[in-house]
C-alpha cells in the first residue's frame, strides 16, 4: 500500500493531465482559438446559385479567413439564395464589396471570397452585399463546353 502523499500526488497529476488534455482539444484540435462568437457582425449576400456552399463554410478576403457562413435560405419571391455570414469585427469592408463563391481546389469545399470596392462608407451590422457572383457548377461548364464544341463542327 502506497502512502497517502504519493497517492494524492498521483491523483493530482492524473486530474491535471486530464484537464490539460481537454484544454489541448479545445485550443489545438478544434477552432476555438481562432474564432469566437462574441465579436462578430452579420452581413447578408444574395446569390443566384450558392452551389455546394454549406453552413460553416469559410468567408475569405485575399485568401485570409475573416468569417464563416451561418445560414443559407431561399427567398421565396426572387428565388435567390440568401447567405448569412458572420464576419469578425476586427475586419471591416467598404459597402460596395463584392462576394463570389469559389471552390478550393478542383473538388474541394466551396467558400465565399470577398473583394473590396472603393466606397468610403463601410459595411455595417446586417449590411447587404449587392454585387455577387454565383457558384460555378461544374456540370454547367462541361455542358456549355460540349455545346460550343458541337456548334463549331
Amino acid at each position: 500500500m502506497q502512502n497517502t502523499k504519493t497517492q494524492d500526488t498521483l491523483v493530482g497529476l492524473f486530474v491535471a493531465s486530464g484537464i490539460v488534455a481537454l484544454f489541448f482539444m479545445a485550443m489545438q484540435i478544434s477552432n476555438l482559438s481562432s474564432f469566437s462568437d462574441n465579436s462578430v457582425y452579420t452581413v447578408t449576400a444574395r446569390f443566384e446559385n450558392s452551389g455546394g456552399l454549406k453552413v460553416k463554410s469559410p468567408v475569405t478576403m485575399a485568401g485570409v479567413r475573416v468569417g464563416r457562413v451561418t445560414n443559407i435560405s431561399i427567398d421565396q419571391e426572387t428565388y435567390e439564395s440568401v447567405v448569412e455570414m458572420k464576419i469578425e469585427s476586427q475586419y471591416s469592408f467598404p459597402d460596395d464589396t463584392s462576394a463570389s463563391i469559389f471552390t478550393a481546389g478542383l473538388l474541394g469545399e466551396q467558400y465565399i471570397s470577398l473583394d473590396p470596392g472603393g466606397s468610403e462608407t463601410l459595411l455595417a451590422e446586417n449590411g447587404l452585399i449587392d454585387i455577387t457572383q454565383s457558384a460555378i457548377v461544374l456540370e454547367e461548364i462541361i455542358g456549355q463546353f460540349l455545346f460550343d464544341k458541337a456548334a463549331e463542327e
Partner: protein
Amino acid sequence: MHFFQRLGNTTLASFAKLGRSSFFLTHVLSAIPATIIHPRLLINQLYSVGVLSFLIITISGLFVGMVLGLQGFYILSDFGAEETLGIMVAASLVRELGPVVAALLFAGRAGSALTAEIGLMKATEQLSGMEMMAIDPIKRIMAPRFLAGFISMPLLTALFSSIGVMGGHIVGVGILGVDDGSYWSQMQAGLDFQDDIINGVIKSIVFGFAISWISLFEGYDAIPTSEGVSRATTRTVVNSAFTILGLDFILTALMFGDI
C-alpha cells in the same frame, strides 16, 4: 408452453433487476453530497479507478492514433489528399473512437475490478458487517467509487483522444511526410469546439455514468459465492460493452444526425 413460461420468467426477472438497479442508483446518488464533503475516500478511489487506468488508456490511444494515421494515409494518398490526414484522425478520435474505445477499455480495466471487489465484499459479508456497525455501505463504499468513475471517464477520454492525435502526428508527419502545418490547420478548420469536442465530452460523461452504475450494481447484486462473483464480473464487461455501443449510436444520432 414451457417456452412461454421461461420467456415470462426472464422478462419478469429482468424488470425486477431494472427496478432494483434504479433503487440502487437513486440511493447512491443521494449519498454523493456526503462524499464531496469528505473527499478522502474519493481520492483513494480516483487513484484505483483513474490513475491505474491511465497507462492502458494512453498507450491504447497512442496506438489507435498511429494506426489511424497509417491507414488514413494509404487511403487518402490514393486521392492525393494526404493533407487532410489531420482532420480524418482527429474527427474519428474526438467524435467516435475516443469516447467509445476509452469507455470499453475503462469497463474492462476498472469496471470489472469494481464488480469483483464489491462482489467479494458481499460474499465475505463485509457489507453486512458494516451495516451491523451502523455504517451505510452505500455511502462508505458505493458513492466514492461511483463518483470516481464518473469523474475519471471524461478525463481519460480527453487523454485518449489527445494522445491519439499525437500518435497520428508521429506517423503521418514524422514518418510518412505529411506537412506539419496542414495536419494541424485542416484539423482546426474542420472541427468545431461546440459540435465535436463538447459532444465527445458529453458522450464520455454518459458512458462514465453508465459504466459506474453497471459495475457497482452488478457487484452489489451478485450471488455471494465465488461463482456468483465471477459471473457478475463477466456480466459487467458484457453489459457495459452493449450499453456503451447502444448509447453511442443513440447519442450520435441525436448529436450529428438529423433525426
